[in-house]
C-alpha cells in the first residue's frame, strides 16, 4: 500500500492568501482513514488554519506519535517536513526539534491513547517545560488503530461498541494542561469547523505551549449511543464559552472594543484574538476559574468548548534556559569549538 499523492493542478481562480499560496498548497496525501472519521475533519481544519494564518508550509514541522490520529500529518502540509515518531513519544521528539531550530513552527498531533495513556508522561513534561508548539489531541475515547479498546479519556460509564461499560475514571487533558502551565488551552469538536479553525490558527501563532483537545469521533468503534465521544453526543452537549475571530496585526488598530459580549486578546506578534463570548461570566485569563468552570460543567455531562485560557505574557523553554536567538542547528565550528589553544591550556591545567 502506498499513498497516492494528490495531483497538484492549480486552478487559476483558486483564492490565494497573502503569501500567494492556495489552500491546495497546504494539503497532503489522500487520507486512508475511515470515511467520516473526525480526524479527517481536523486535518481539513489545520489546512484551512495554515492558509488563513499565511504560514509558509515549509516553515512548519509536523510531528506525531502512533495511532490513526498520528497518521493525520501525512494528510496535510505535504510541503512540510513531518515525523511520525513512536507511540506516545511525540512530545520529546518535538522538544528536541524545537531546541535545535527555534525558527520553525511546531505542530504536534496526537491521539488520546497516544497522549493520555502511554504518552501521558511526555505530554505532561512538554507542557510544563513550555515548549513553543501547538499540541493537538484528536480525542475519540478509543484506540482506533488497534480496533476499539477504551482509552484513558473514555468517560466512566460510557460503553464500548460491544457493550462493555468503562469502569475507570477519565483523564482530562485540558485540566492537566491548565494545571501544568500551558499558556493557551482550548477545546473544540471536529464537527464544528467554525470554532475549530480559528482556534488552531490562534494556537499556531501563540508563542508558547498551546494545547488543543478536539473531540473527534471514531466512526468505526466509538460512534454509538453509549459513547460520550460520538457525533451526536458532542453536538448535543457542546457548551461553547466563546468563539474566536482572528484579526491580523495590521488591522488590529482599526477594530476596537464593543462592550459586553466581546473580549479582545492581543498576542505578542500584534494579532488580535477577538472572543465573542457566549457565556458572559467566562474570563479567558483566569486559569483557576477555567478549571472550576470545566469541572462544574463536565459533571453535568457538558462538553465545554472554546478558547479556555490564554496567558498575556507567555514564555517558552528557550527563554527559560537562555538559548541564543540563532537556531542551535545552524551554529558553526567557530561558534562551538573552543579550539586548539584553549585545549592546550586545559591540558596544562590537568597536570
Amino acid at each position: 500500500m502506498t499513498y497516492i499523492a494528490k495531483p497538484k493542478l492549480h486552478h487559476p481562480s483558486l483564492p490565494k492568501n497573502k503569501l500567494g499560496f492556495t489552500r491546495r498548497d497546504y494539503e497532503g496525501a489522500v487520507s486512508t482513514l475511515c470515511a467520516g472519521c473526525g480526524h479527517d475533519a481536523i486535518s481539513a481544519a489545520i489546512i484551512q488554519a495554515c492558509f488563513n494564518a499565511n504560514i509558509e508550509p515549509h516553515r512548519v514541522a509536523k510531528l506525531s506519535g502512533i495511532g490513526c490520529s498520528s497518521k493525520a500529518p501525512t494528510y496535510f502540509l505535504g510541503g512540510s517536513h513531518g515525523f511520525n515518531t513512536v507511540h506516545g513519544r511525540m512530545p520529546s521528539v518535538l522538544t528536541g526539534a524545537n531546541l535545535a531550530n527555534r525558527d520553525l513552527i511546531y505542530l504536534g498531533v496526537s491521539g488520546d491513547g497516544d497522549s493520555a495513556s502511554i504518552g501521558i508522561g511526555q505530554f505532561v513534561h512538554s507542557i510544563r517545560r513550555g515548549v513553543n508548539m501547538t499540541y493537538l489531541v484528536m480525542n475519540n475515547g478509543v484506540y482506533g488503530l488497534t480496533k476499539g479498546q477504551f482509552s484513558a479519556t473514555a468517560d466512566r460509564g460510557s460503553a464500548s461498541k460491544r457493550g462493555v461499560v468503562n469502569s475507570d475514571a477519565p483523564v482530562d487533558l485540558i485540566t492537566m494542561a491548565l494545571q501544568l502551565g500551558a499558556t493557551f488551552v482550548a477545546r473544540s469538536f471536529s464537527g464544528d469547523k467554525e470554532q475549530l479553525v480559528p482556534i488552531i490558527e490562534a494556537a499556531l501563532q501563540h508563542p508558547g505551549a498551546a494545547f488543543i483537545d478536539v473531540v473527534s469521533p471514531c466512526v468505526a468503534f466509538n460512534n454509538h449511543s453509549g459513547s460520550t465521544k460520538s457525533y451526536d453526543y458532542a453536538r448535543e452537549h457542546n457548551e461553547a464559552v466563546n468563539r474566536i475571530d482572528i484579526i491580523p496585526a495590521a488591522e488590529a488598530e482599526e477594530v476596537r472594543y464593543e462592550a459586553g459580549a466581546v473580549q479582545d486578546v492581543t498576542q505578542s506578534d500584534g494579532t488580535l484574538l477577538r472572543l465573542r463570548k457566549v457565556h458572559l461570566d467566562y474570563d479567558v485569563h483566569d486559569r483557576i476559574g477555567a478549571m472550576n468552570y470545566l469541572h462544574k460543567h463536565q459533571a453535568r455531562g457538558e462538553l465545554v468548548t472554546g478558547l479556555l485560557y490564554v496567558s498575556e505574557n507567555p514564555e517558552d523553554l528557550h527563554s527559560h534556559i537562555g538559548t541564543c536567538k540563532r537556531p542551535l542547528a545552524q551554529l558553526q565550528d567557530a561558534d562551538l569549538c573552543p579550539g586548539g589553544e584553549t585545549l592546550a591550556k586545559i591540558n596544562a591545567g590537568l597536570r
Binding site: 508550509p57 516553515r59 515525523f83 515518531t85 521528539v93 531550530n101 542551535l328 565550528d333 585545549l343
Partner: protein, 615 residues
C-alpha cells in the same frame, strides 16, 4: 617472619575508609603528590551505591614503568575502617604493610604475622587537638597523608603545593590543613621507624606531558569540541558526571559574554525515553545532540534506538557501563552492555559502538561519535565504563587539529534543490548505503519528506511492498559495511617472531592487558594482541583471528559478549576463541589475565611472575 617488601616507585597502596568520612580528597592528595614527583599513579575508587556509612576503598597503583591497570593484591593497606578489617587484612601481600589507627588496642588474633604493622593513634591525636567532631574526622585524613609522606619519602613541599591549589581562594582553610599535614609527618618521623619501611617514592621523570583526568570529564569535553549543542539526559550513576562536566565546560566556552546567550541547551528529561526522544528530535532537525546514560537507561531507550536506526537519524549515546543486569551493581564496573547496545531494539538492527580505552580516547571518540552519527545518520554509542569514567587516569594530552571541521554528512542544501538536484530521501546515490537528507525548513517547495518508523520506499513514501522493504534493509546493511572504514581501526601489537596465540581486548581492560602481556612475555610466551576500538569490526579483526590458532578474548562480563559478537559477525569457529572473563564488578587485574591465560595454555601457576616488589 616473611621478608618485608622492598620497592621503589612500584607498589600498590590501598585505603579502606567509610563513605562520607571526607577521605576522598585526602586520598587524592596522596596520589597526586606522587604524580607531581614524576611517578605515574593510577588511582581507583571502589565505592558503594549509597551516600553514607558503607565501606569505600581507594586503591593507588604506583608504577614507574607506567602500568595503569590494576595489578591485583595490595602492598600497603591504610586500614581506616574497622568494619572491613578482616577483609582488608587478608588482601595484603605477604611481607606487606598494615597502617592502622592504634588508638584502640588490636588483639593479636586480629592480625597476621607475615605482614608489618605500623600503628599510629590518629583518633587520640585528633581528639586531643580538635573539639569539633567533623574537624576530628577531616584532619585525621590529612594527618595520615602527612604520615604517609614521611613513610614513603614523598616531598612534603609537593603536598603543600597541592593543598594550596585545593584551597585557592579559601585561605582560611589552608593553614589548619597544612598544620594537620605537618603534625602527621612529625609524628611519623619521631614515632615510626620510617627508614625500615621498604616502599619508597623517588623523584622520576616518567610522567612526561601526560594529563590526569576522569574519563567522564574528557567525554564531556569531547562533546564540546565535537560541536554538540543539545544534551538531554536523566541522572544515573556512573554517567551523571558527563553532563555535569558538559554543563561546566559549556558555561565556560559557550556563553556569549555580552548577551549571556547560550550556544547549548541541556534538558534533564523526565526519563531516559524522553531524553533519547529529545536527542532524536534534535538530530532530525540538524543539531548535534547526545545523551549520557548507563545500562538501565539504554534498556529504556531501545524503542527509540530502533526508530533512529530505521528512520536514519543521528544520535550519540554515551553509555558509561556499570554492573548489570537490571539495577545490578550501580557503582561497580563492567563491560556487559555490548549485546544490548549493538543490537538494541526489535527487528534487525545494528548500531555503531566505539570503545575508548582511557580519557584521551573518551575525548576523541565523543567528538568522533558526533561526526559519525551525522555521517552515517544513525545512533552511535560511546561505550565507556565506570572504571574509566569515574576514575582519574593518566593519559596522553588532548589534541585538536585546527583544520578539523564538523562532518555534517550528506545534506542537500536549498541551493542544490534550486539548481534542480534530484532528491529522494532513502536513495543510495553513492552506493555506500548512506542516503542524503534535507533539514526541515530548507526549501519552500522542494526536498521535504516524511520521517517514520514504518517501512517506506526510496522516496520516503510509506510502503509495505516486500521489495521496497528488502531493498531498504539491504541498504542499511551496506551502510553498516561502510561504517567499517569510518570507525576507529583496531590497534595491533605484533612481534618479530610470528605468534600462534593472539588476544583480543577492548576498552578499559587495556592497561591491565598491557601489563599482562609483558608478564607473559617475561615467561617466554609471545602473544599477538589486538585492541578493538569499534563495532562493526573492520576486516582486519577477522584476519587477525584467522591468522592465529587460538585467540583469547578478554572482557569484563559473564557471557563473553564480545566473543559472541565476533562469532556472530565474523562466522568464526567458537572453539577458536577462548574467553577470559572477569565480572565481579572490580576492574580486571593484570594478574587475573596472566593467570587465566597461563592456565588455559597449561603453563601452570603464574603467581611466581616476576614482581619487582616481592624480593
Amino acid at each position: 617472619m616473611t621478608k618485608a617488601l622492598q620497592s621503589i616507585n612500584d607498589f600498590v597502596v590501598k585505603f579502606a575508609n567509610v563513605n562520607g568520612s571526607g577521605s576522598a580528597s585526602a586520598n587524592e592528595l596522596f596520589a597526586r603528590s606522587i604524580l607531581r614527583m614524576g611517578v605515574p599513579v593510577s588511582p581507583r575508587n571502589i565505592f558503594p551505591s549509597n551516600i553514607q556509612g558503607l565501606p569505600t576503598w581507594y586503591e593507588v597503583r604506583v608504577s614507574e614503568a607506567g602500568y595503569l591497570g590494576r595489578r591485583g593484591g595490595c602492598d600497603f593497606m591504610v586500614a581506616m575502617n574497622p568494619q572491613t578489617w578482616d577483609e582488608d587484612l587478608r588482601e595484603i601481600e605477604p611481607g606487606g604493610y598494615l597502617f592502622y589507627d592504634n588508638t584502640r588496642v588490636i588483639h593479636a588474633d586480629q592480625l597476621r604475622d607475615d605482614i608489618n604493622l605500623i600503628g599510629m593513634p590518629l583518633t587520640r591525636i585528633c581528639n586531643e587537638r580538635y573539639d569539633d567532631a567533623r574537624q576530628r574526622q577531616l584532619f585525621k585524613n590529612i594527618m595520615y597523608v602527612g604520615a604517609l609522606a614521611a613513610i614513603f619519602d614523598i616531598d612534603i613541599g609537593e603536598v603543600e603545593k597541592l593543598i594550596g591549589e585545593m584551597y585557592k581562594g579559601k585561605e582560611k582553610l589552608l593553614e589548619p590543613n597544612i598544620e594537620a599535614l605537618h603534625s602527621g609527618r612529625d609524628y611519623a618521623r619521631t614515632h615510626l621507624n620510617c627508614a625500615s619501611i621498604g616502599l619508597k617514592i623517588r623523584r622520576a621523570d616518567a610522567v612526561g606531558d601526560r594529563i590526569f583526568i576522569e574519563g567522564n570529564s574528557a567525554t564531556a569535553l569531547g562533546c564540546v569540541y565535537g560541536g554538540a549543542t543539545v544534551c538531554a539526559w536523566y541522572p544515573i550513576t556512573p554517567s551523571t558526571s558527563v553532563v555535569d562536566a558538559f554543563q561546566s565546560y559549556c558555561n565556560k566556552f559557550r556563553i556569549d559574554k555580552a548577551s549571556g546567550e547560550k550556544r547549548f541547551a541541556i534538558v534533564q528529561g523526565e526519563d531516559e525515553i524522553a531524553s533519547i526522544g529529545i536527542v532524536v528530535g534534535a538530530g532530525w532537525n540538524g543539531a548535534r545532540a547526545f545523551t549520557a546514560t548507563s545500562g538501565p537507561g539504554v534498556s529504556l531507550m531501545t524503542e527509540f534506538l530502533g526508530l533512529a536506526y530505521f528512520a536514519e537519524i543521528p544520535a550519540t549515546i554515551i553509555n558509561v557501563q556499570r554492573g548489570g543486569p537490571s539495577t545490578g551493581m550501580p557503582t561497580r564496573t563492567q563491560q556487559a552492555d555490548l549485546f544490548s547496545c549493538a543490537y538494541a531494539s526489535n527487528g534487525d538492527t545494528k548500531h555503531i559502538l566505539l570503545f575508548p580505552e582511557d580519557p584521551k580516547e573518551c575525548f576523541d571518540f565523543a567528538a568522533q561519535a558526533l561526526d559519525l552519527a551525522d555521517q552515517l545518520q544513525t545512533p552511535v554509542f560511546v561505550m565507556s565504563d565506570l572504571d574509566i569514567g569515574m576514575n582519574t587516569r593518566l593519559c596522553a594530552p588532548f589534541e585538536w587539529d585546527e583544520n578539523r571541521h564538523m562532518q555534517r554528512g550528506k545534506i542537500v542544501t536549498r541551493e542544490q534543490l534550486d539548481a534542480g538536484i534530484k532528491f529522494g530521501r532513502y536513495q543510495d546515490v553513492d552506493g555506500d548505503g548512506i542516503p542524503y537528507r534535507t533539514y526541515p525548513g530548507t526549501h519552500p517547495s522542494k526536498g521535504a519528506f516524511f520521517t517514520r518508523g514504518t517501512s517506506k520506499d526510496a522516496n520516503a513514501r510509506y510502503s509495505e511492498r516486500g521489495e521496497d522493504y528488502v531493498e531498504n534493509m539491504q541498504r542499511l546493511q551496506r551502510k553498516f559495511e561502510t561504517a567499517k572504514s569510518l570507525v576507529p581501526q583496531p590497534i595491533e601489537t605484533t612481534h618479530d617472531t610470528p605468534a600462534t596465540v593472539g588476544v583480543i581486548y577492548f576498552g578499559s581492560t587495556s592497561p591491565a592487558m598491557q601489563e599482562a602481556m609483558d608478564n607473559l612475555q617475561r615467561r617466554g610466551l609471545v602473544i599477538d594482541a589486538m585492541r578493538l576500538r569499534a563495532f562493526p569490526f573492520p576486516d582486519s579483526v577477522m584476519e587477525f583471528i584467522h591468522r592465529h590458532e587460538k585467540v583469547f578474548v578478554v572482557e569484563q562480563n559473564r557471557d563473553g559478549q564480545l566473543r559472541s559478537l565476533l562469532i556472530n559477525e565474523g562466522q568464526i569457529n567458537p572453539a577458536k576463541l577462548i574467553p577470559v572473563l572477569h565480572f565481579d564488578g572490580t576492574p580486571i587485574t593484570a594478574r587475573f589475565i596472566t593467570q587465566t591465560i597461563c592456565t588455559a595454555l597449561n603453563l601452570g601457576h603464574c603467581e611466581s611472575m616476576p614482581k619487582q616488589a616481592a624480593l
